[in-house]
């Protein structure tokens, strides 16, 4: 069951992660809070969709799509702030670091089958981020850039 307190906790955690990495990436002070909220929204959406029974990849796709669209909107409103500041930081909580580590550990145990499974999960999650961000871009940038 998805409760409001679950969502609030996840929102808070998403905010901590995004702002933490935003500070690591030296995001300008005036953009940090926007980036944090965008990351939190993306994370909560992904969490809720997974709880609702969707696969990790589909949930990640919609999370990344939300981050891409919100990033576009905010960078459009703030003017002269590149969208990358918001999207790259906002997406961080979805980057599949853990399957990537698992893969290396499995391979070191000569457990090739599980290793390949983790590798595929990592690649699919990265693909879902790519698909979400590109869909957001296609929806907001109509002309093809040379």
């Amino acid at each position: 069951m998805l409760t409001l307190s679950d969502l609030l906790l996840q929102g808070l955690l998403g905010l901590c992660v995004t702002i933490g990495f935003g500070i690591l990436f030296n995001v300008p002070r005036d953009s940090l809070a926007y980036g944090g909220v965008i990351g939190a929204v993306g994370h909560v959406l992904r969490f809720a969709l997974r709880k609702a029974g969707l696969s990790n990849e589909v949930a990640t796709f919609f999370g990344a799509l939300a981050v891409g669209l919100l990033g576009y909107w905010v960078s459009h409103r703030l003017q002269s702030k590149p969208r990358m500041i918001f999207t790259v930081t906002g997406i961080i909580s979805m980057v599949p670091g853990i399957p990537a580590y698992e893969m290396i550990i499995y391979f070191s145990h000569s457990d090739t089958l599980n290793g390949i499974q983790s590798a595929v999960r990592a690649v699919l999650a990265t693909g879902a981020i790519a698909a979400g961000l590109s869909t957001a871009r296609l929806l907001t940038e109509f002309e093809h850039r040379e």
């Binding site: 906790l9 990495f21 500041i85 290396i104 590109s134």
Partner: protein
């Protein structure tokens, strides 16, 4: 409209345009964005024609103006992340007046390059540590896992700062920091009797995941820059392997399992 440039001025223009591109790449921008900003600045400087070939580690820049023509190849010294610099250069490229000379632009770029980081080091260490702690909770951990990941990540980030200052290889930095973070979290999860010890350990090394190269690789692919995308993906993969090696050494020595 094309401006008349003396040969030395044209070379200076080439150098400053290339420097902006290199600074963008060094600060974590994708290749198409570096190329965009160089094109925009060349247009503002009223250079007749600027051609660039941009990859994450090397760059070729060619300027043509009237009868003069210069070509230079540059190396991008190191890849890092600095969003404030990307933002400042982007603002500069849009806001600079059309009458700006290459020498004036060089001064403006110098100023941006020398700007102090937005946040003091202890703030960065604290913020990154809490972010890793939050990851431990997202993965399903509780307070002991949060504390473990936070402490271990703080030490790892401090160490990373020290190692970056020594200009060590990113691969060595990734492996060493992950080994140290894994050692500390191995000790802490046992000390705190954490019910899910593997989560504390995994979360404590997440600060090392090359998220920016991975995402900018995706952005490069989206803009049909396959060479840059491949280069960045492989860089990110090699960093991940090195994090894994650092972690693995500790896991093998301690017999601890994170699976």
């Amino acid at each position: 409209m094309i401006k008349e440039y003396s040969p030395s001025e044209l070379i200076e223009a080439l150098n400053v345009v290339a420097r902006v591109g290199i600074l963008m790449l060094q600060s974590g921008a994708s290749s198409f964005r570096a190329k965009d900003i160089m094109d925009r600045i060349a247009a503002k400087l009223a250079i007749e024609q600027l051609d660039t070939f941009v990859t994450p580690t090397k760059m070729i820049v060619i300027v043509n103006n009237g009868q003069a023509n210069y070509t230079r190849a540059f190396k991008v010294p190191s890849l890092g992340v600095n969003m404030a610099r990307v933002s400042a250069l982007e603002v500069l490229s849009r806001a600079m007046a059309d009458s700006t000379s290459p020498a004036e632009l060089t001064k403006l770029v110098d100023e941006i390059e020398q700007r102090a980081p937005e946040y003091p080091r202890f703030v960065v260490i604290g913020a990154v540590a809490i972010a890793c702690g939050a990851f431990a909770v997202i993965l399903g951990g509780g307070l002991p896992e949060f504390a473990t990941a936070t402490c271990a990540a703080a030490v790892a980030q401090w160490l990373r700062f020290r190692m970056i200052a020594l200009r060590l290889s990113p691969y060595l930095i990734a492996a060493t920091c992950s080994a140290i973070a894994a050692t500390i979290s191995f000790g802490l999860v046992h000390l705190l009797n954490a019910p899910l010890p593997h989560l504390g350990l995994i979360a404590s090394v997440l600060l090392l995941v090359p998220g920016v190269p991975l995402v900018t690789a995706i952005l490069d692919f989206m803009h049909f820059d396959f060479i840059s995308g491949m280069a960045r993906s492989i860089f990110a993969a090699l960093i991940l392997v090195n994090i894994g090696i650092g972690m693995l050494v500790v896991l093998v020595l301690t017999g601890f399992s994170i699976l």
